[in-house]
Symmetry: C2
């Protein structure tokens, strides 16, 4: 397939080389910034495009797919500002944006190509395990998205907008919020002058257990035991960090509510 | 060493067989319930003791170490109710209880033997990686605790009460609270009729990244990007779960506060 990449950030920087390696022709890479466009284009043999009003209609031959890997709040703007070949298939990579974001653009076809993963510079990803969640109105467009997706990953699903948005909320809990809790734990260890890797076996076992069981069914700790004196001790110990103290109390209450209201927990 | 185990719950059930396998003689296992005491004692060749007032002074020959693996709120009660050999070395296994819990018992020596791990029935633990956090007033008692600890684990530390309590708070964030977030994610997937293992690669990558970096430095997601429209969308999507909606908002605020106040984040 001939694929154009719109964006040169975290997702685009991992996606473009992976697509090239899977045998696709990355025909163009666009970024608002010229150095970013050139850097990523040079890694994939693509034509670099930059500036606020890219012309995909005349600068390169038409691509089979235009993948929009820009921040959510930039998608509508890029859609409007750029020139697209008539009838081009565009797909965004967002967990949150509806398929309907393309509705205002009469001259293009719209789709979704959402990789369910967290992207950070310098991390090497195994794309074959990354779930790719696809959506389009037309079966022919889904077929293009599926062909590209299956060349990268063994996990390809059709997920309509409402389920994808729910999945995105779940991903925020499982990834972004979990990372924040691990950051709080890391900071508390540093405060106590304890080695940063002391919690590693506990974190590994926690995740192994949560992935092997319904997590609510294997909940442990002072909250689910209703160990009020330990909860009080911990609350006092967090006195220097009011935001974390408030989180401690709310998470404790949520664990206790879950145990009380979900029979399987 | 000759070791007596007080308790037959999650910690005791994993600790007693591990100690026997490491070559120690488990001389007695006590539980309030007779079947629990007999079951665990039979696995380790120990004498089972039960009832509310166990007599460790006359029922068995003196042990080198009496390990208290009972719930935190039962420790003081068991300490008082039981008969201990004069000068016996007792150690509790709690993250939260101070060493001072033994101060009221003039006739025994007190210590702490805290395994930093989460214990659930049926999980096979690799004790060699479990950090064992020790504390005692007397160097001779620490030497006994260290000898037992090193026979189980490669990670043995002396950790005084205040640092251990801080570590315990950190462990609640890294383990119990993380598990709860993974449970919420799991429940949201089930609500959307999505496969339960869809988040597995994301969770694995999140934890791998958080263990390879200071977690605050690799925070991703709508909160740290100040992506207000996605945060608003997610908040609406959680309308059916007010407790999780409140958690979402507080975690989002905490991530944003951390990014604003910690230069390394």
């Amino acid at each position: 397939m001939r694929i154009a990449i719109i964006g040169a950030g975290r997702v685009a920087s991992q996606l473009a080389p992976a697509l090239a390696q899977a045998g696709h022709e990355v025909v163009a890479v666009w970024s608002r910034s010229e150095p970013s466009a050139q850097l990523l284009a040079s890694k994939t043999g693509a034509v670099p495009l930059h500036g606020s009003k890219p012309d995909f209609a005349t600068v390169t031959a038409a691509a089979d797919l235009y993948l929009l890997a820009v921040p959510d709040d930039a998608v509508a703007q890029v859609l409007q500002a750029a020139q697209w070949p008539a009838g081009a298939l565009l797909a965004h990579t967002s967990g949150a944006l509806p398929l309907g974001v393309f509705a205002a653009q009469q001259q293009v076809r719209g789709g979704v190509f959402y990789p369910l993963q967290t992207f950070s510079p310098g991390r090497v990803l195994d794309w074959s395990t990354v779930p790719l969640c696809l959506e389009a109105d037309e079966e022919a467009d889904l077929a293009v998205l599926e062909a590209v997706a299956r060349s990268l990953s063994q996990r390809v699903l059709r997920v309509p907008t409402p389920a994808r948005q729910q999945l995105h909320v779940a991903a925020v809990f499982a990834c972004n919020f979990t990372n924040h809790l691990l950051g709080i734990a890391d900071a508390l260890l540093a405060d106590a002058h304890l080695p940063a890797d002391l919690l590693t076996p506990l974190i590994r076992e926690t995740v192994d257990k949560a992935l092997a069981n319904p997590p609510f069914a294997v909940q442990t700790g002072p909250a689910v035991r209703h160990d009020a004196s330990t909860v009080a001790l911990h609350t006092r110990a967090l006195g220097a960090h009011p935001a974390w103290q408030q989180l401690y109390q709310l998470l404790t209450a949520s664990i206790q509510e879950t145990a009380a209201t979900r029979p399987q927990a």
